[in-house]
């Protein structure tokens, strides 16, 4: 295994996690609040500093215009894709967006693209891992919904780069889950992974065969998840409030967020209780109260859950399997805690689902397994191999606005296809190509990935040039295009205009900005920590000067200590944490004998039957020890 530590990251709609392989076992790395889940919430505080995770949640309610959640829904999407989202989510878009530009979200007075906001979350996870390992982390495996298209994948990769992470692999979430599952249950057979998360739904059917995890088919809906349940409940509450109390609070961001928090709590409670109460305080001394039974809840959300049936059936059809052939159905994603989701799955696959794995963590754990495989593998992973597929067919637009599919969905990746183009008029130098992703027959119904021009075709009569274009989908599910004019052997120049997404230059400049500030952040944190440590030692020293031990030191020793003390006092004011650390170490060394003497005094004093306080030491010997090193871990 290499020295480079690669972490696995689940960048979720609702929560994000970072995990790594500890020996044979993948484990989640907790945040500084001790919690494994980092809520995917980003806020800008009153000092324009970025706050991420649990600490950012309060801003959703206090200053909703300075906070954002569920940003994953906007990754790799164009303005026309998200009209529905805008009705349901309080995304505040920047108004000054130019046509063709990636949309930006307003946080206070600042604006950020979805990849930048995701990068803030990734950077928090990176920091959590760096704190845990006390070493820099620069490489990661990040999971994405299996049904993410090329633009959404590219946006996720961009987010990684902006956060200062080299994304070694994008792994599909259900596939990652299967790795964690497979590590546990080493048996061959067909497994289905039903992954209903905060914002996305995936179904993947895999064949596990001698530690090869071969995806047979995948399907899903990148806009279906717990968020939809929440939004339904919010809508009902808002209607109720208007109907019963005559109060329209739709425009009141704070109240809507308060309602959101309450309905989420109710939803969670209903997974374990037969009924739960909504109780929301409203302006003007009004109050909204309502009891929801589990039955009512189940009836309400059934239409949402039913939307998972079609993709499941299609995936089984594409995989060529019947429910009877599936050995196990693994549940992933927080929404699979809802009992009625479990019974729906049971109905569909005609078996009890496998619920042993923590549905919130299993994807991150699987990402850690994949990270381990990429780093060369360990004893338990060295024979594991993942063969994943592309979820959507890749096509090109041909005459009449029709999509000609060149790589079909569920093809194992990497996969490629070669197409030949020629010219229609004499001396034509450019040929335009429109690349699409999707299952529909007409180009207008598919997702436009990119338009590009094959340029610099040598002048020839019409129909004579033969331009070979190679489309290659890599193991991340991302498309690469290369072209060559075969008669001249000349490499054709390709100018790609991605339909959605950041250009390389944009990503570069974002990386620089964030890299600078990340470095700065890191440095400042180190300075603050070193200063705190210096303070602790200096005040401990001050106290020990009052102890009898101080008097027992030789004059020279006391002078030496005073000199070191002065040195630390001086560098403490500077911004160089390395100097501060050195001065701390020097003082630690210089006070070694003092510490020993103090221990002796403490023991003697104790033997004389005096308490520590009476011995005038101020503190217990442990903390009074001037060399006690502050623990910052």
């Amino acid at each position: 295994m290499s020295n480079q530590r690669i972490v696995g990251i689940d960048l979720g709609t609702t929560n994000s996690l970072v995990a790594f392989m500890q020996g044979d076992v993948p484990v989640v790395i907790p945040g500084d609040d001790g919690l494994n889940l980092v809520p995917s919430v980003v806020a800008l505080n009153e000092n324009d500093q970025i706050i991420v995770g649990n600490a950012a949640r309060k801003y959703l309610i206090e200053t909703p215009e300075r906070a954002v959640y569920s940003i994953k829904r906007l990754m790799g999407r164009g303005i026309e894709d998200i009209r529905e989202e805008l009705k349901l989510f309080p995304f505040r878009l920047a108004e000054d967006r130019q046509p063709g530009e990636v949309l930006r979200i307003k946080l206070g007075d600042k604006t950020f693209t979805p990849p930048e906001i995701s990068a803030f979350i990734l950077r928090q996870l990176k920091r959590n891992a760096e704190r845990f390992f006390a070493a820099p982390i620069t490489q990661a495996v990040i999971t994405v919904p299996a049904y993410f298209n090329d633009a959404q994948r590219q946006a996720t990769k961009d987010a990684g780069r902006i956060a200062g992470l080299e994304v070694l692999r994008l792994v599909n979430e259900p596939t990652a889950a299967s790795l964690a599952y497979g590590l546990d249950q080493k048996q061959n057979g067909i497994v289905a992974v039903y992954d209903l998360g905060g914002g996305t739904f995936d179904i993947s059917i895999l064949k596990l065969h001698d530690e090869i995890f071969e995806v047979m088919a995948t399907n899903g809906d990148t806009h279906l998840g717990g968020d939809d349940i929440d939004n339904l409940l919010i809508t009902i509450a808002l209607d109720d409030i208007q109907g019963d109390l005559g109060l329209d609070v739709r425009r009141n961001g704070e109240i809507v967020q308060t309602i959101r928090k309450a309905v989420i709590e109710t939803k969670i409670a209903l997974s374990s209780q037969p009924a739960a109460k909504l109780d929301i305080e409203l302006p003007a001394g009004k109050r909204y109260q309502r009891e929801i039974t589990r039955q009512q809840f189940e009836d309400l959300i059934r239409p949402i859950l039913d939307r998972t049936i079609g993709p499941c059936k299609q995936a089984m059809k594409d995989a060529g399997v019947t429910p009877e052939q599936i050995e196990e159905v693994v549940l992933v994603g927080g929404s699979t805690r809802i009992p009625t989701v479990r019974s729906l799955v049971k109905e569909m696959f005609r078996r009890e689902p496998h619920t042993d794995l923590n549905p919130d963590e299993v994807v991150a754990l699987g990402a850690a397994v994949q990270a381990n495989i990429l780093s060369g593998g360990s004893e338990v992973t060295q024979n594991m191999l993942l063969l994943d597929v592309t979820p959507l067919s890749l096509g090109i637009e041909v005459a009449g606005g029709v999509t000609d599919k060149i790589i079909l969905r569920n093809s194992t990746v990497p996969a490629s296809a070669t197409q030949h183009y020629t010219t229609q008029i004499d001396g034509q130098a450019n040929v335009a190509v429109h690349v699409l992703q999707g299952e529909r027959e007409l180009a207008k119904d598919c997702r436009s990935l990119a338009r590009f021009d094959l340029k610099g075709i040598p002048p020839m009569p019409a129909g004579l040039p033969r331009i070979e274009v190679k489309f290659l989908i890599d193991a991340n599910g991302i498309l690469h295009v290369s072209a060559r004019e075969q008669r001249s052997g000349k490499e054709a120049e390709i100018e790609v205009q991605p339909s959605y997404g950041l250009t390389d230059e944009q990503v570069e400049s974002m990386i620089l900005e964030s890299f600078d500030s990340a470095e700065e952040d890191f440095r400042q944190r180190q300075v603050i920590e070193a200063r705190n440590e210096a303070e602790t030692i200096l005040s401990a020293l001050e106290k020990s000067k009052k102890s009898p031990a101080w008097g027992q030191l030789a004059n020279g020793e006391r002078k030496q200590i005073a000199k070191l003390e002065k040195a630390l006092e001086e560098v403490k004011q500077q911004d160089d944490y390395e100097k501060i650390r050195k001065a701390i170490d020097a003082l630690n060394q210089g006070t070694m004998r003092l510490a020993e003497l103090m221990m002796d005094t403490a023991v003697t004093t104790a033997l004389k039957g005096k308490t520590m306080e009476q011995a005038d030491m101020g503190e217990s010997p442990e903390t009074g020890h001037p060399v006690a090193k502050a623990d910052f871990e």
Binding site: Q154, S375, L386, V398, G400, L449
Partner: protein, 245 residues
């Protein structure tokens, strides 16, 4: 989406292939001596798997081979190697996947072999129909003569069904007729599949021997059967769509 430039794969000048890393001779996709991935060669899918250009393939063996090669070539195994090796692994494993995907399916395998034999298969897909519809041109798809009558009748019925649907009615008698037609076509489809299988055997018998004329005959028969088969498949799909909506 990213663009990249294709690098010409360095081939040994003598034709004798040696491993770029350890110089052991005759390295194929990966070196049997040191295990390292080799630059990809532009070979056809049969050659890639070391198979003769025959249509009956032991798919179980092919699958085993696919798994074994995946364990040597997949990009996941080259996470810590040079960029160049990563690129070769990407090329080799995409070639492996493309080849396996094509050869494991008997119809795709046949179509691929026919293309290698210089046949441009007639585009019978639905996209041809759509192109025709959008551009207003006559569909280039040629109706097999022996099916003309049935196809004509079927199209009439489909049109009738659409009309009655527009009026908000479901003509049950018509639906039953269409279903009967569908069953009829499905039977024909099965017959054609069986016929195709016989040609596979015939092809394989002459594949190695010097009988070009015979080979061309079989090739042309396969093209004909495939076209008819595809045509019927599309008809069944149209009926299914009409009945399903």
């Amino acid at each position: 989406m990213a663009t990249e430039s294709t690098t010409a794969s360095p081939l040994a000048e003598t034709g004798e292939r040696v491993c770029w890393s350890c110089s052991a001779p005759q390295a194929a996709q990966f070196c049997t001596s040191c295990g390292k991935v080799q630059p990809s060669q532009s070979v056809d899918y049969f050659t890639f798997f070391g198979l003769p250009r025959k249509l009956n393939i032991d798919v179980t063996r092919l699958q085993r081979e696919f798994y074994e090669l995946s364990r040597k070539l997949h990009p996941d195994l080259y996470g810590q190697t040079s960029k160049q090796e990563q690129e070769w692994s990407l090329e080799q494993s995409s070639l492996l996947n493309d080849a396996y995907r094509t050869l494991k399916d008997p119809i795709k395998r046949t179509e691929y072999l026919l293309r290698l034999e210089g046949v441009e298969l007639e585009e019978q897909s639905k996209s041809a129909t759509e192109t025709a519809r959008v551009s207003g041109e006559i569909k280039k798809q040629v109706v097999p003569p022996d099916l003309l009558e049935e196809v004509f009748e079927l199209n009439m019925q489909l049109e009738e069904l659409r009309m009655s649907r527009k009026m908000g009615e479901d003509d049950l008698a018509l639906i039953r007729e269409l279903q009967a037609h569908k069953t009829e076509f499905e039977k024909k489809f099965e017959v054609l599949t069986q016929e195709l299988k016989q040609y596979w055997d015939q092809w394989d018998r002459v594949a190695d021997v010097d009988q070009e004329e015979k080979r061309h005959q079989i090739r042309d028969k396969m093209v004909d059967v495939l076209n008819r088969r595809n045509y019927i498949r599309n008809l069944v799909r149209d009926v299914n769509e009409a009945l399903g909506s």
